[in-house]
């Protein structure tokens, strides 16, 4: 089920490891950005940390899977983001707005409950196991060959979609009138409203767009990475790390943080560094190995832990994140 290419160990081929890991890391980072951009935009505007955001990613993958197996793969890529975007609009308009007066904690709890429901609905319809969502065979070829290893074209395609999405988003926000209103509504909602702009409508639109991007990410990436009911939870916590490290509300920050986390996860799995190894530089290696425990944990085995450590450090030292302005 896992179609991740074999990860070369660091010692075998340093250059091969370096290049392949960097490529994988950048592309995984771009995928993270597709999901986190919507989350960070929504938080910046509405102050709502949307727990259900990664569920949009999962729903996108499952909708695209359903359409790909019954009709056509490309139609799935087109329809999934639209349906997920409409769902996002519905959630903002009819559910979130209803609890808005109870405060942010309540909105957080509501999206939390929705994430719960989406996961269970997916289990209801598709079962509690991975589904076989795969790209069409004609996309299954090597983009290029490096050090005798074929690099799958589809990975490059994921990266390409993410870059296209980022450029679209950037142009929309910085070059169009609608983008101007969105930025105004984000910065000073009360003044934008008094100037005659329909701020609740803008919020709804941004929420829907963010959801649609997450749905697109799911539709594209689900065909390469495993599509299962846990994918929302697994990606969701990493996406939280990304938006926190990048700075809640900052689009550029979330791009940088996505790439950072992507590169880190991709490199860490191939490195067997440990604290004991580090201490042996100062002659304490044997002592550390005899103590064991935390000293002999290798970086590859705790690669899942480091992002959370990073998130904790950022939250405590600089809660505005790398590029956020507000606290």
């Amino acid at each position: 089920m896992h179609r991740r290419p074999r990860i070369p160990r660091a010692k075998a081929q340093p250059m091969e490891f370096l290049i392949i890991s960097a490529l994988n890391g950048v592309i995984y980072g771009l995928l993270l950005f597709m999901v986190s951009s919507g989350l960070t935009l929504i938080f910046g505007m509405m102050g709502v940390l949307n727990f259900a955001h990664a569920s949009f990613y999962m729903l996108g993958a499952y909708i695209a899977y359903t359409i790909a197996t019954t009709v056509d793969f490309w139609l799935g890529l087109l329809v999934a983001p639209i349906l997920v975007g409409l769902l996002g609009i519905f959630i903002e308009r009819y559910l979130l707005r209803r609890v808005h007066s109870h405060g942010h904690a309540h909105e957080l709890l509501l999206t939390f409950g929705l994430a719960f429901i989406f996961e269970e609905l997916i289990k209801l319809f598709y079962g509690d196991f991975p589904v076989n969502y795969a790209m069409p065979d004609y996309l299954r070829f090597a983009g290029f060959t490096i050090y005798g290893t074929d690099y799958p074209f589809y990975r490059l395609f994921i990266g390409f979609v993410a870059v296209a999405m980022f450029i679209t988003l950037y142009l929309l926000l910085s070059r169009t009138r609608a983008g101007l209103v969105v930025r105004a509504a984000e910065r000073l909602p009360a003044i934008a409203e008094s100037l005659g702009h329909n701020v609740p409508f803008v919020f709804m639109g941004v929420f829907g767009t963010g959801a649609a991007f997450a749905g697109l990410a799911g539709a594209v990436a689900g065909a390469f990475f495993p599509t299962n009911p846990n994918m929302a939870l697994e990606l969701g916590v990493i996406v939280f790390v990304v938006v926190v490290v990048g700075g809640l509300g900052s689009l550029e920050g979330s791009l940088v943080a996505s790439l950072l986390i992507g590169l880190f996860s991709s490199f860490a799995v191939g490195l067997d560094w440990s604290l004991a190894g580090l201490l042996s530089w100062v002659g304490l290696g044997d002592w550390a190995r005899s103590v064991g425990g935390v000293f002999t944990l290798t970086l590859s085995s705790i690669s899942g832990t480091v992002p959370f450590l990073l998130m904790l450090i950022v939250l405590l030292v600089r809660p505005a994140g790398l590029m956020g302005e507000r606290n």
Binding site: L110, F116, L124, F308, L316
Partner: protein
């Protein structure tokens, strides 16, 4: 007050007297109910009293469980001698220490950022535990045995149940006593207006750290009880699902009422025991109930109960009873429709059904639901839930209006009584 004490006494008497008459499955379910209740009460000390929303309370629950298992292992190989009924003290100590440490950092931030720090702490442990054999036993986790102590074997589920009951009752009593202390009042003040607390010269951060550590300590006791009951624990105790359950229990029960979390935890764990054999969609219903409560009754079940108790003398049952009957009918119709639909879809989309279809060369076998057989493509099958849903939706606006009207009356009477009372004279006020 007297009525409340009497009510609690009756509940306790039932909890003591009834379990010996029940089967082991029930005793186990009730033990889990007690553990979930205690965990939710500990969690609610933070959100209900101090206004801090934690999304990582599984961390302290798990730490309590692992600490207790380490002590149990030490007792087992006779390197330590410790009485079995006092084992939860290990969980309490571990929860308190880790809670004070994590709380020190978490409470530097507030709001969403606080929630994110707690989430990160739990995820940190969750991702670290499977790789750390010495402390968390790797992916398999730790297992141990309850040792007999002082004539008690602790071999039966019933003995474990009474142990859990004792610790839960004691902990809830302590939590209640806590709310009556000056420090407990200070906790409430922190929730309501932190700035003012600071101006009055209190150290807000230190206070929050202590509250956090106490909450973690009681979570640790709950985790310890789980470890004693299951005699095993692994890294999945740290997962977001555990943190999510306690949030669900607390808010469904009502976080603004002292015993609200107990209601939520008891209802959900006992329901899970009832229906988990019958349906696989239990968690879906749980999520739906949670979202509906968030949307329509933000104070939870406990909040509804409290509203009735507060206005008891002003409730006019001739008005309310028909409104409640109608609302109950609407609820029953909609619940019936949703349950029918979910269960039918669940069967049709299950792998077993797909296998049955393959055996029948693609024909659609009937599905069994509520003791009846339903044809998948027969209109009758889908008319039943549609009729229920239509009836429910048609009557829904009517029921809501009636409910609102009768409760508006109650609130009006309360308002009238309040304004009819003379203005309280300020002591020592100077007459003009």
């Amino acid at each position: 007050m007297l009525a409340r004490v009497a009510a609690i006494g009756v509940v306790l008497a039932v909890l003591i007297a009834v379990p010996p008459l029940l089967g082991i499955g029930w005793q186990n379910a009730m033990t889990n109910m007690l553990i979930a209740s205690l965990f939710a009460m500990a969690f609610n000390l933070l959100i209900g009293q101090a206004g801090l929303l934690s999304f990582g309370h599984a961390a302290f629950f798990g730490v309590g469980a692992f600490a207790t298992l380490h002590l149990m292992l030490a007792i087992e190989d006779r390197s330590v001698s410790f009485s079995t009924p006092l084992l939860p003290l290990a969980g309490a100590a571990a929860g308190f220490v880790i809670g004070a440490f994590a709380g020190y950092f978490a409470t530097i931030r507030s709001g969403v950022y606080f929630a994110l720090v707690t989430l990160a702490v739990a995820e940190l442990l969750h991702s670290l535990a499977p790789h750390w054999d010495g402390l968390f036993g790797g992916e398999a986790g730790l297992s141990s045995m309850r040792m007999p102590w002082g004539g008690l074997s602790f071999g039966s589920t019933l003995e474990v149940y009474y142990l859990a009951l004792g610790w839960t009752a004691l902990s809830i009593l302590l939590l209640w006593a806590y709310t009556r202390t000056p420090f407990g009042r200070l906790t409430l003040a922190l929730r309501d207006n932190e700035q003012r607390v600071r101006f009055m010269g209190y150290n807000a951060h230190a206070t929050k750290v202590i509250v956090f550590a106490i909450s973690a300590m009681f979570s640790g006791i709950a985790g310890a009880l789980l470890a004693i009951s299951n005699e095993t624990a692994n890294y999945s105790l740290f997962s977001l699902h555990v943190s999510a359950q306690v949030v669900l229990h607390t808010f469904v029960g009502g976080s603004t009422v002292f015993l609200g979390p107990v209601i939520g935890a008891s209802v959900f764990t006992l329901f899970a025991f009832f229906v988990s054999d019958v349906t696989r969609s239990w968690l879906l219903y749980q999520g739906l109930v949670f979202v509906l409560i968030m949307l329509y009754a933000p104070l939870g079940i406990g909040g509804l109960v409290q509203a009735h108790m507060q206005h008891w003398s002003r409730l006019r049952w001739p008005d309310l009873a028909p409104a409640y009957a109608l609302a109950g009918a609407v609820g029953a119709c909609l619940t019936g429709a949703v349950v029918f639909l979910v269960e039918a879809l669940q069967i049709v989309f299950s792998p077993e059904y797909a296998a049955a279809r393959r055996r029948l060369d693609g024909a659609w076998p009937p599905i069994e639901l509520f003791g009846l057989e339903w044809q998948v493509f027969s209109p009758v099958t889908w008319i039943v839930p549609s009729l229920l849903a239509a009836a429910g939706l048609l009557l829904l606006p009517h029921a809501r209006r009636k409910l609102r009207e009768s409760w508006d009356g109650v609130l009006e009477r309360a308002e009238a009584e309040r304004t009819a009372e003379p203005e309280p004279q300020l002591a020592g006020a100077v007459e003009p």
